[in-house]
Amino acid sequence: MANVLTAAPHSEEDVLIEQMGYDDHFHEHHDGDKFQSSFITTYIFSQDHKMIAKQFLITGMFWGVIGGLMSLVFRLQLGFPEESLSWLKPVLGKWIEINAETGMGALSPDFYYALVTMHGTILVFFVLTAGLSGTFSNLLIPLQLGARDMASPLLNMMSYWFFFLAGLIMFISLFLNTGPFSGGWTAYPPLSALPQASTGSGAGMTLWLISLVFFVVSVLLGGINYITTVLNLRTKGMNMWRMPLTIWAFFVTAILGLLSFPVLASAFFLVMCDRGLGTSFFLNEIFIGGKALDHVGGSPVLYQHLFWFLGHPEVYIIILPAMGIVSEVLAVHSRKPVFGYKAMVFSILAIGFLSFIVWAHHMFMSGVNPFLANFFVVFTLIIAVPSAVKVFNWIATLFGGNIRFTAAVLFGIGFVSMFISGGLTGIFLGNSAIDIQMHDTYFVVAHFHIVMGVAAFFGMYAGVYHWFPKMYGRFMNETLGKLHFWGTIIGAYLIFWPMHYIGMAGVPRRYYRFDTFQTFSQFDDMNKFITIAAIITFGFQLIMIINFFYSIWYGKKVTDKNPWGATTLEWTTEVDPGHGNWAGKLPVVHRWAYDYGKDGVEFIPQTTPVKEGEKMEH
């Protein structure tokens, strides 16, 4: 890289700060800790970013279990349509329809679609957006930048509670008599706009919309805070080029969220108007339920444009934090600087930028002018370039390393594998010509589950195993972590790999049964196989959850401030940092975050001053 620096001569002030730390007079501002004075302000309405991070994580885990169980129920229906599901009747009640003649219980198609919809909504928004970005942006942005807290702890707290409220409303919608919303997580109108089109489009959709509007508020409050904090609260010496890649990823993620989520909210408001106020933004010439509606002049395709203008950046909102976490984890545990730091940053920026001009690749078959595809194919496939650069850099980071195999690094490596497998199938789907056949088949299901579902989960797991000691002052059990990893990577491939073949054979997604069509009904064995693999893989996630909660109270205690031997600032705090993070003065940063193995030293923390004549990266 061009700017290999030699140590700059120190000014008097610098020398002082080096010796004394950077004093922000933190403890002079208040006596005692007004933020953590009672149980409620410590654990519930906490304004401490570390507690908020834990709240996001545990709420995310709760939703992860719910969303995962939902997928198991509909997978049972898909894999074993001939087996009775009446044993689920105590839980699902009327949604299990018992055939009066045979006594066979089957999932009602309405509820099947409701489960599919809820699974998507919950996993995409509540688990992989809030649970991933919410958790780690909150935990790491102040800690890795050397800040006492977020720029606005109050907004930060509100961000969590809006998320909680969104979740609560969604949870309530599960118990509606007419069932939760069942028109797919993308909620395309007219299906979502007309209660007469589907039972779930009545009260279920109303609650879905309200819930997600609150969710958007949560993301925006969080995002504006992350951006402000990154721009303004970096400690002395922490210039942008010295930030760990995690922070770059969270920063760009927050910008993407801030620019795209309002568009989603606007789409939702317009749907609400169409539903309640008789407008026709997305409705045109509809005859339904024996009646011709008065709505004319709207366009359902307009909704799709608005939705995917969020929807595509959204997949990067999910995957970028995972990328950042993995970059960090791979570097720390292979004891090597992340390869091509600047290339990594530029590729995050490039991905972030490009993610805004590719949305219509979800809409090649939506009836938009085919000419439009020419632009979107080009930009979509261009994204493959920065993505490939990142993959090569991760692999190069491992090269020549001294990899300490922890559960975190295993998930990091697993992430790279998943990202490759799922990313490459994106090259098929992004090419509009191939998408004609592949669109809305199981090939798409396989693609996005691997690349943004499993891969993002792997990033999240890597982060949880790696930063658990920082969050709870204890380690998670490594053996169980490794068992969890191998079970999950093998299981996830066994679930999603066969879906590529089913998709290539043309089987459409979102089918409740396949036996109506001869063409689609020949994959019973494979569907059974996928269902069994899904159940087992879910079981492995329970190991992680047991491990997590057990370790909070009984895990091996962390004795060393810096148990992984990492360079970043979060490991310069006490083992269990209180509010304000650093007991005394703020640390001062002298170097980039990846001085591992430099000059024969295993790692040099960012706070270590530059030696005379030392060659510097940044």
Binding site: V301, L424, Y501, Q518, G597
Partner: protein, 485 residues
């Protein structure tokens, strides 16, 4: 009891999981953590290699074992002209991505094994290498350029609409919850106008009957198409989004309410030809579960499906598709009857009751003259409709007048023929008996005006029908020569 058992087993599993975890922690304590970590590194590195080998072998083996599932292979060959273009693009992409997939996975897991931490070894310090970055930016960029050019070339070729002078046939598919309405243009080759506000149970598409193009359109329950003919499908939706999906033809396009979309394709294999191809594959040489007497390949049909979520019946929107030779198609086409003439003509919603169409006039003339020529006494004449413009008026509908005119012409030309005009009505119409008589007179007047001699027409007083609520109905009956009432 079951709940109790479930709770117990969950607790047991949790305990087991925790114990597994504890064991290694204890072992680490005994043997020293650092020592233990090196051992873990060794074993995990080993697992990396095992996983790599099993994974890659599994990928290749699955591709070989499941080659008959793959797009363009085995029973999944395309049945349309453009299909092979897509399949080729798919295979080209598969080739490049396959290479990348294998190489990156080998490096990833091999490095995981090779560089697992060992005692006394140190990691290299290689923060970056601009030359490498440029190389691995350029290579994907070049490959992507290649794929983009190939892909867009294919896309624009496939999605090209018909141009003037093209020999094509247009049909229309309308998705609704939950099925497809298939409309053929009839012999004029033109699909008539429709309006969603006109939809009723007897007019499922909302065809505007004022548009003459609608009159020969017919609806079909199967999509029958001639092989080798360029087809332009006009795709519309009635209620929510649907997607017109013909997997074997590589055709897929959303159906959007209020906005027609189009897909142009040419089927290249008849159903019979495709069945013959399927016969070669063992998975099609099993009895069809729906019809165990036959093999799967024998009962195979192309299928039309929906691939855009449209509600609870989304999975069931099937229509069979039959590709036949042009000759077979012509035969089938000839047997189809116009929806308008078989379901709408002379019904309330028919806007054309003031006239008979030329074809109807000719046909009517033939029918009536045949009936009169036969001179079989007591036979009712085949008059389609005798109706009046409004409930009280005495003005006959244009179409009735036209019919009566034909009858009058024929009677005039054949003075020996004699007909009886009788009218029946229900008991509840008794109050309007005067009106009915006046109307009967109006009918007779038309015949007289057209030169029918009063002696040729016998008027019978109104009689009451036996069944309740009978509508008023006029009937001409042929009286044989010399047979007098």
């Amino acid at each position: 009891m079951t709940i109790f058992l479930v709770i117990i087993s969950i607790v047991l599993i949790a305990v087991i999981v925790v114990q597994i975890g504890k064991v290694t922690e204890l072992a680490a304590k005994i043997r020293g953590e650092e020592e233990m970590q090196y051992e873990v590194n060794r074993s995990q590195g080993g697992y990396m290699i095992i996983f790599l080998v099993v994974f890659l072998v599994g990928c290749v083996a699955s591709a070989i074992y499941l080659k008959n599932y793959m797009l363009g292979y085995g029973p999944h060959t395309p049945a349309s002209e453009h299909g092979s273009i897509l399949d080729k693009m798919f295979n080209v992409t598969l080739f490049f991505t396959g290479i990348v997939f294998v190489i990156t996975h080998i490096l990833l897991f091999y490095f995981g094994w090779k560089y697992s931490a060992k005692k006394g070894r140190k990691a290299l310090f290689i923060p970056h290498d601009n030359k490498l970055e440029i190389i691995w930016t350029a290579i994907p960029a070049v490959v992507m350029t290649f794929l983009v050019v190939g892909g867009l070339d294919a896309w624009n070729e496939v999605m090209a609409d018909v141009t003037e002078g093209d020999d094509y046939m247009e049909i229309e598919a309308t998705g609704f919850q939950f099925g497809w309405n298939l409309r053929y243009p009839g012999s004029d080759g033109l699909i008539g106008e429709k309006n969603y506000k006109l939809i009723t149970s007897e007019n499922p598409l909302g065809q505007n009957w004022k548009d003459l193009k609608n009159h020969d359109d017919f609806l079909a329950t199967e999509l029958v198409l001639p092989v080798g003919q360029k087809i332009r499908v006009r795709i519309t939706a009635q209620d929510v989004l649907h997607n017109f999906y013909l997997p074997h033809f590589r055709v897929k396009m959303d159906a959007v309410p209020g906005m027609p979309t189009y897909f142009v394709f040419t089927p290249t294999k008849t159903t019979e030809e495709y069945r013959a191809e399927l016969k070669k594959f063992p998975e099609y040489n099993v009895p069809d579960p729906a019809d165990p007497a036959k093999m799967l390949w024998e009962t195979f049909d192309y299928e039309l499906a929906c691939s855009e979520l449209c509600g609870r019946g989304h999975y069931s929107m099937k229509r069979p598709v039959k590709i036949v030779s042009q000759e077979e198609y012509d035969i089938w086409f000839a047997t189809q009857s116009s929806y308008y003439f078989s379901n709408i003509r002379f019904k309330e919603s028919d806007p054309w009751t003031d006239r008979l169409f030329d074809a109807e006039l000719t046909k009517k003339k033939e029918l009536l003259s045949a009936a009169l020529g036969a001179e079989s006494a007591g036979k009712d004449l085949p008059l389609e409709v005798i109706a009046f413009n409004d409930a009280k008026g005495y003005t006959l509908l244009g179409a009735s007048k036209a019919e009566l005119n034909i009858l009058a012409g024929l009677l005039k030309a054949k003075p020996s023929a004699k007909v009886k005009l009788s009218v029946t009505t229900g008991e509840d119409n008794i109050a309007q008996i005067g009106d009915i008589d006046a109307r009967t007179k109006a009918i007779a007047d038309i015949l007289y005006e057209n030169g029918v001699s009063p002696s040729q027409l016998v008027l019978v007083p109104t009689t009451m029908a036996t069944e309740d609520n009978a509508t008023t109905k006029w009937v001409f009956t042929l009286l044989g020569a010399g047979l007098l009432l």
